[in-house]
C-alpha cells in the first residue's frame, strides 16, 4: 500500500461550472476514496412559499436553476394542477412539449461544450456553443427570454406561437440539425476523444439502479427508464422511445446525450405537425387542498416536486428533489479507482447542476 495524500478538488476549478468540493484520497495517482461536500450555494428557496402566493410562485420555481429552468416551472404547474384537478387544454400541452425539448437541446449542447473543454478540446467547445446561440435566439423569439422562459402558468401557457412562426422555427431547426450532426461526428469518431472516455468510470447496471442514478447515467448502463414514457403533457401522443446504451462507461453517457439531441429534434417536428388549435389556458378557481407528487424528465434526469396545501392561498410545504442530488452517490462510486487526471471528466459526465441540487 503506497503513501496516501488528500488532494482537494474544487470548489473553484476551471472545469467546474458550479462549486462542489471533493476531497480525493490518492495513492500515487490513483483515487481510493472520495469525501464530497456541497452547500456553497444553498438559497433556502423552499421557505419562500410562506411569502408568495401559489400562483406567483411559478416565477420562483423557474429560477431554481438557470439551465433547466422551463421544466422546473412546468413541473410546478403539473403539481398544482394535480392537486386541484385542472385539465390543461391540448394546445398548451403541445406548446409545453416544444419548449421542453428546446430546453433539452440547449442544455445538452452546453454540456457537450463543457465536457470538450474538460479534456482540452476548446475548438469543439466554441463550436457547440455557437450552435447553441441559434437555439437561444429561437427561444427568445418565441418566449422573450434566453434562459429563463417565463412561459408556463398554472392551467396552461402564457403566450402563443403562431403558425407562421412555427414554420420558421422548423426551417431554422433543419440548418441547426445539420451543424449538430457535424459536431457530434467529431465528438464520437475522434480517436483522442475515444481514448479518454472509453472504459473510464464504469457503473454497472445493478449499481446504477440500486444507488438511485437517474437520467442519462441510468440509461447508459442499460436501464430503459425515462419519465417521458409515463405520458405527461403531450408525450403520450408522440411515440416516445427512450435512448438506451449498454456500455456503462463515460463514452456511453456521451452517446446517450448526443442521441437525445436528435431525438428531441424529431419530437419537435412531430409536435409542430400535430399541434391542434384551441385555448391556451384553463381558469383556476379556488385554492389547492391536498398533497401530490409530480415527476418530469429534465435534461439531467428525473425531477420530483412535492406540494402540500390546506385550502389557503399559501402552500404549506414545497419540496424539490433534483436529478443532480440523486446522481451524487453514483458519482462517489465511479470516482473510486480512477486516475487523478480523469476526475474532471467523470464529474462532468454526471452533468452537475449544483445550484439545482441545493436550491
Amino acid at each position: 500500500m503506497g503513501k496516501q495524500t488528500i488532494i482537494p478538488f474544487g470548489p473553484q476549478h476551471p472545469v467546474l461550472p458550479e462549486p462542489i468540493h471533493l476531497d480525493l484520497v490518492c495513492e500515487d495517482e490513483k483515487v481510493v476514496d472520495v469525501i464530497p461536500k456541497i452547500g456553497f450555494v444553498h438559497r433556502g428557496l423552499e421557505k419562500l412559499i410562506e411569502k408568495k402566493e401559489f400562483l406567483d410562485f411559478v416565477h420562483i420555481a423557474d429560477r431554481v436553476c438557470g439551465i433547466c429552468s422551463f421544466i422546473h416551472g412546468m413541473t410546478y404547474c403539473l403539481a398544482i394542477e394535480g392537486v386541484m384537478n385542472i385539465e390543461v387544454p391540448p394546445r398548451a400541452q403541445y406548446l409545453r412539449v416544444i419548449w421542453s425539448e428546446f430546453s433539452r437541446i440547449h442544455s445538452h449542447l452546453l454540456w457537450l461544450g463543457l465536457t470538450a473543454d474538460a479534456f482540452g478540446f476548446e475548438a469543439l467547445f466554441m463550436n457547440s456553443w455557437r450552435i447553441r446561440e441559434h437555439i437561444l435566439d429561437i427561444i427568445e423569439e418565441t418566449t422573450g427570454g434566453r434562459v429563463i422562459f417565463g412561459a408556463c402558468k398554472v392551467g396552461g401557457v402564457r403566450r402563443d406561437i403562431s403558425a407562421d412562426k412555427l414554420k420558421d422555427v422548423l426551417n431554422e431547426l433543419k440548418d441547426i440539425e445539420a451543424q449538430m450532426h457535424e459536431c457530434a461526428d467529431v465528438f464520437l469518431k475522434d480517436s483522442s476523444v475515444k481514448s479518454r472516455l472509453k472504459g473510464v468510470g464504469i457503473l454497472s447496471k445493478e449499481d446504477a439502479y440500486k444507488l438511485g442514478a437517474v437520467g442519462p447515467m441510468l440509461r447508459a448502463s442499460g436501464v430503459p427508464y425515462d419519465v417521458r414514457m409515463s405520458g405527461y403533457a403531450a408525450y403520450k401522443e408522440l411515440n416516445f422511445i427512450p435512448v438506451v446504451e449498454n456500455t456503462c462507461d463515460s463514452y456511453g453517457r456521451c452517446v446517450v446525450r448526443i442521441r437525445e439531441l436528435f431525438e428531441s429534434c424529431r419530437l419537435i417536428r412531430d409536435a409542430v405537425a400535430k399541434i391542434p388549435d384551441g385555448p391556451l389556458e384553463s381558469k383556476v378557481v379556488g385554492f389547492p387542498k391536498g398533497e401530490y407528487f409530480a415527476r418530469a424528465e429534465q435534461p439531467r434526469g428525473e425531477v420530483v416536486y412535492y406540494v402540500k396545501a390546506d385550502g389557503t392561498k399559501f402552500l404549506k410545504r414545497f419540496r424539490v428533489r433534483t436529478p443532480t442530488f440523486a446522481n451524487l452517490p453514483p458519482l462517489l462510486k465511479i470516482l473510486v479507482g480512477c486516475q487523478l487526471a480523469d476526475v474532471p471528466i467523470l464529474v462532468l459526465t454526471i452533468d452537475p447542476c449544483i445550484s439545482c441540487a441545493e436550491r
Partner: protein, 117 residues
C-alpha cells in the same frame, strides 16, 4: 401516469419495509420532512411509473430515526439534509456530516421549535 399512494407506518417498521422494497426492486426516489402541526417524514420509493410513499409522524425531536443507508446507500444525502434543516436525529448514517452539510447562518431554519446552539 402511474399511481401514487401514501401509507402511514410507525418508526419501528421503517427498516423492515425498506428491506422489502429493496428485495422487490424498488428504487429510492426521495426523502423529505414537513413541519406543520406535527413533524412528518415521507420516504418515497418508485418502480416503473408507480410511486409508493411511507409516512411517519414523529412525536418529538428526541425520537431517533434509524438510517437506511446500509440498505439504500444513496439515502445519506437526504438524511443529512433532514438533520440540518429540521433538527431530526438520524442514527447510523453512513456518511454523517454532523450538521455541516449546508453552511447556514441560522441552524435548523425550517423548524423553529428545534433547539439552536
Amino acid at each position: 401516469m402511474g399511481k401514487q399512494e401514501i401509507v402511514e407506518i410507525k418508526i419501528d417498521e421503517l427498516v423492515a419495509k425498506a428491506k422489502e422494497f429493496m428485495a422487490g426492486n424498488w428504487r429510492l426516489v426521495q426523502i423529505c420532512a414537513a413541519k406543520l402541526e406535527q413533524l412528518e417524514l415521507s420516504y418515497s420509493f418508485g418502480k416503473d411509473h408507480d410511486l409508493m410513499t411511507l409516512r411517519i409522524i414523529l412525536p418529538s425531536l428526541d425520537v431517533e430515526v434509524p438510517s437506511i443507508t446500509d440498505i439504500y446507500f444513496g439515502a445519506f444525502g437526504y438524511e443529512n439534509e433532514l438533520h440540518d434543516l429540521f433538527g431530526i436525529n438520524i442514527k447510523g448514517n453512513a456518511i454523517d456530516y454532523k450538521g455541516n452539510f449546508y453552511t447556514m447562518a441560522v441552524k435548523t431554519p425550517f423548524n423553529t421549535e428545534a433547539p439552536r446552539e
